[in-house]
Amino acid sequence: MLKQELETTFDNITIRMEKKNQLELSITKDGIMSVLSFLKNKGYDHLHVISCVDWIDDKQLELVYILSAYMKQDVPGETEQLNILLKTRIGRDDPKYITSIALFPAAEPYEREIHEMFGVDFLGHPRLTPLLLERDYDIPPFRKDFDTKQYVDDVFGSVPSVEGEDKN
Amino acid sequence: MHIIELIFSPLLALLIGVFFLGLARKVMARIQWRYGPPVTQPLIDIIRLLSQKSASHGVAFNIGLVMSLAGSLVITLFLPFGKIAPMSNSGGMLVILYLMLIGPLGMAISSGESANPNASIGISRKLLLAMGYELPFLLVVLALMTAYNTTSITEIVSLQRDTGWSMFTFPLVLSGIAYLLILPAMLGVRPFEVVNAPQEISSGPLVEYGGPYLALATLQHALAFFIGISLFVNLMWGGAANPVIFFLKMLVVFFLGIFVNAVFPRLRIDQAIRYLWRWPSLIAFAGLILVCVTGS
């Protein structure tokens, strides 16, 4: 029922329904905002999380918005909770994207974390300051091409042990 | 003879106070099915604390603490311990009441100087708790003083020798019950251990006390414990002819306090005040009225 409505309103949307209560939608990056507002009006007003996947071989970052109805009765005719996964792909080197804070204020920390960990620059985000990390990294740590072992060796290895330390 | 008493009664009080602390930790451990530290553990702690170089927050930080311990030491001179009562004739119960005030005041000034909010919260709780138990305590003490028509504590003790323990003589029964109800608060045992609560306000006024300061603070705590018990035994349980019986009576009161300490959770400060100002104050007030009516 919701599937037909989505197909009619949006043209280049692909919908898959593998699990019982999980609906996967994927769309091009400029259609995301309209789908988000459409779903929000339908009653799916709770943004669980925005996560990001690094497809390094086809040089793309995939943003996943996970939505659901916060209160069951918000959505008429809804038997049990339906989670919607909205996916989109953006280019991997110097990625830019528009922020969704206007629709979901809760998206602010998630977008800051993705900016920090994957380097995605969200335009219009009020404060893209680091959320969790203490130090600054040239390659964002969660990207696949970030070599943790190498990073650990040259950052922590380079700290000299205090003289005469390893005698006992 | 008088000089020896003057020197040794504070030392004796310190010794017994420290012994009580060690015994308290042992008994608490035993109640919780643990072995618990040796009884001399507070002594070991004090030796270790004295050897640590700690931080000081200024002159008032040092002097306030020294004043508070000195104040508690001086009280032990006024409290008769069995027959040893070195200075109890140069000012009676009123002087003791006001001397009991120097300890908390000195501690409050020195921990106020440590500029730590935990300490300030701890002091405001200590003074509020003191306000809480002081109301019924004053009623009880006034009832005693009017019943025995004297303000000197040695006279109260000697009068009790013939009229029996003042807790069980007719007009003072109510005051005795009220005193028992507020004793945990005066000793600072668990239900009313609101002041140095380690979990909530990281041990209140003691938050900035390092080595020697913590040693003085534990001694002051031990002395306050000793004074609370010996005051109760002198006023309510008739004091004793010789120090040994007096010490045994103190042990009984001590175990009473520790059992209460081991069992009760900690009250919030306003719950503590509400409790102290409700039933114990009512009973103490009735006790005073009873004494006035029957006494005059």
């Binding site: - | 170089k53 700690s54 004739n89 140069s90 005041l105 000034i109 002091i123 009623l139 020697p212 004494v291």
Partner: protein, 620 residues
């Protein structure tokens, strides 16, 4: 020209001279003011232990106006002049940046002279005149810095006028009954007076002195007056001026009515009046002290304590035994010393922090102003009555009389009052001096020397009177004997009474030995490292600037419990009366419309009314 006439001439002359000199040059005026106050102190000191009476003026309808000096008036005069001198020295630098300072100094001397006049007056007429001079000059000084101070001054002057009118009525009734106003003669004549008349006298004069001494129902003017007055003057105001009420009570109860002789007679009205007064004193101790605990303005907190401590004095005096009266007088002296000290330390803080009195925004000033801290510390120790301070000895005497006089409930009110004082006074000390120093007071300088001198002098007198109470008690013993009581057994360091003695030298020796022993024990511990205020335990985090202090709403748990009971009902009651009279007088004002026609109409109407009455009933 006995010593008293010279003294009052110098005092009143000084008022005009300071004003004129002020016009010429301020430094000349300052030196003259200090010299004048010192001269006053010396003159009074020379008149120690003299009693006598001289008539100095007969012109007022032939009623002889005389001066009288005895032990009581000497003590009060001495206290007034010494405290006046200290506050003049203190206000040299405090008032240096204000305008019309010469007016302030001349008024200060006028108040001083008025108080000396009250204390030395031998008859009720001169007593009343000097009383009015004192009240009016106080009004001018309270409303010195304009704004809300004028309202506080107005409130003060209205209540003290009511008191003076009551006193005037009493004086007139005395004059009509006995034809003389001389206090010495009156004390012989009133013995034969009927109990009802004695009670009337006591109540009339009691109202006048009760308002001045802020006994509970008549206390509402005091908090506003103390807070709005300039600090050095509010020190004098709280120290000596309000205690003129106590002088009045002593005068009326023990001299004019001469109660000492028959206080314990069963039917005597005086003992019933004293009993009611004692209960008023007890209430005056408890309620203001708890209200003081909840104040956030330093001076208002001290003002409420001024009322509370007044209760102790009333309690001591109203309890008619020799120890009680001696305790009451000694407490008046002690209170004068430490309340002036506390107001001066608050003034020193105000002078340095630009007039800040709010307890929630100060903190950590002990490192910057140690002398003010020592003064405040000793002041509050005296206020609480910590052993070794003067407050303790006088409170001990008052408690001793209450307990041996079998009045445990009064003693309970007094003791609870002192515990309430501890809480509120520690909040005063903690919020100003202890805790974290705010950023903006980082570079405060020490208080200037002429502020430190009075603080040091007063602190040392607190300790001196605490350790050797015999010095003041010998003078007070003379007063008690002059009232007709039997003398106390006073030794240099305490009182020996039948039911237990107080020995402050032993106490001092014991505490000193304890301090030395503990200090040595502390010294054998390891060396301590001085550390700044931001090297503090903050659960591993760095100490946040300016937000790491806990002073606001200091006793919040207690505040939530007792604040509903502490509404100042008397204040609201008096305010209602004030509004009512305002409304009524507004109605009357409407009669004067300003057109001459209306006035002519009123006259014609009145005459016709008179004619009508004459014709109907012909009363003449």
């Amino acid at each position: 020209m006995t010593g008293m006439e010279i003294l009052l001439l110098v005092a009143f002359g000084g008022v005009m001279l300071t004003y004129i000199l002020g016009r010429i040059s301020s430094s000349l005026r300052n030196t003259f003011a200090v010299v004048l106050s010192l001269v006053l102190v010396v003159i009074i000191a020379l008149m120690y232990d003299k009693t006598g009476e001289t008539i100095f003026y007969r012109g007022f309808f032939g009623i002889p106006m005389s001066f009288r000096i005895d032990a009581l008036s000497w003590l009060f005069a001495m206290a007034t002049s010494v405290l006046g001198c200290l506050s003049v020295i203190f206000s040299l630098s405090y008032m240096s940046d204000r305008k019309n300072i010469s007016f302030y100094y001349s008024m200060l001397f006028l108040v001083n002279a008025g108080m000396l006049g009250v204390v030395f007056s031998g008859d009720l007429l001169s007593f009343f005149i000097f009383w009015e001079i004192m009240s009016w000059s106080t009004f001018l000084l309270i409303s010195f810095n304009r704004g809300p101070a004028v309202a506080a001054g107005l409130k003060y002057i209205i209540m003290s006028i009511i008191g003076s009118m009551a006193m005037l009525a009493g004086t007139i009734s005395l004059y009509t009954n006995y034809g003389t106003l001389n206090i010495a003669d009156l004390s012989h004549l009133t013995v034969s007076a009927s109990p009802g008349y004695q009670l009337f006298l006591l109540i009339i004069f009691g109202v006048a002195f009760g308002i001045k001494n802020a006994v509970m129902p008549l206390h509402t003017w005091l908090p506003d007056a103390y807070t709005e007055a300039p600090s050095p003057f509010s020190a004098v105001l709280s120290g000596m001026l309000t205690r003129m009420g106590i002088y009045g009570f002593l005068l009326i109860i023990y001299v004019v009515v001469g109660a000492a002789r028959f206080l314990h007679a069963a039917d005597s009205t005086v003992s019933s009046f004293n009993y009611v007064l004692a209960w008023l004193g007890a209430i005056t101790i408890v309620i203001p002290t708890f209200i003081a605990m909840l104040q956030n303005d330093a001076k208002r907190l001290l003002a409420w304590h001024g009322i509370g401590q007044g209760g102790y004095m009333i309690l001591g005096i109203a309890f008619g035994t020799n120890m009680g009266v001696a305790g009451g007088i000694f407490h008046t002296l002690n209170h004068a010393i430490y309340i002036v000290l506390l107001f001066m330390s608050v003034a020193a803080i105000q002078y340095r922090t630009g007039g800040v009195r709010d307890l929630n925004s100060l903190g950590g000033l002990i490192k910057k102003m140690p002398v003010a801290f020592i003064g405040a510390l000793l002041g509050i120790c005296g206020l609480i009555g910590v052993p070794l301070t003067n407050g303790f000895v006088s409170k001990w005497m008052i408690y001793k009389t209450l307990i041996s006089g079998r009045a445990p409930f009064l003693a309970f009110a007094a003791l609870i009052g002192s515990w309430g004082t501890i809480l509120s006074v520690y909040k005063f000390l903690h919020n100003i001096f202890l805790g974290q120093l705010p950023e903006k007071y980082r570079d405060i300088k020490q208080s200037p020397f002429n502020m430190k001198l009075p603080i040091i002098v007063l602190s040392s007198t607190i300790l001196l009177f605490g350790i050797l109470p015999g010095l003041p008690l010998r003078v007070i013993n003379k007063i008690v004997v002059s009232f007709g009581f039997d003398s106390l057994n006073i030794s240099l360091w305490g009182i020996v009474s039948e039911s237990g003695m107080l020995n402050t030298i032993n106490l001092f020796a014991a505490i000193l030995a304890g301090l030395i022993a503990v200090w040595l024990f502390f010294r054998i511990g390891a060396r301590t490292i001085p550390v700044k205020q931001d090297d503090n335990y903050a659960a591993g985090a760095a100490v946040p600037r300016d937000r790491y202090s806990y002073t606001a709403k200091y006793y919040d748990p207690l505040f939530r419990m007792i604040s509903p009971y502490l509404k100042d009902i008397f204040n609201t009651f008096y305010m209602k009366i004030a509004d009512l009279t305002g409304y009524l007088s507004n109605g009357i004002r409407k009669i004067y419309t300003g057109y001459v026609g209306n006035y002519v109409m009123y006259i014609v109407l009145f005459i016709s009314l008179m004619i009508f009455v004459q014709m109907k009933w012909s009363p003449w």
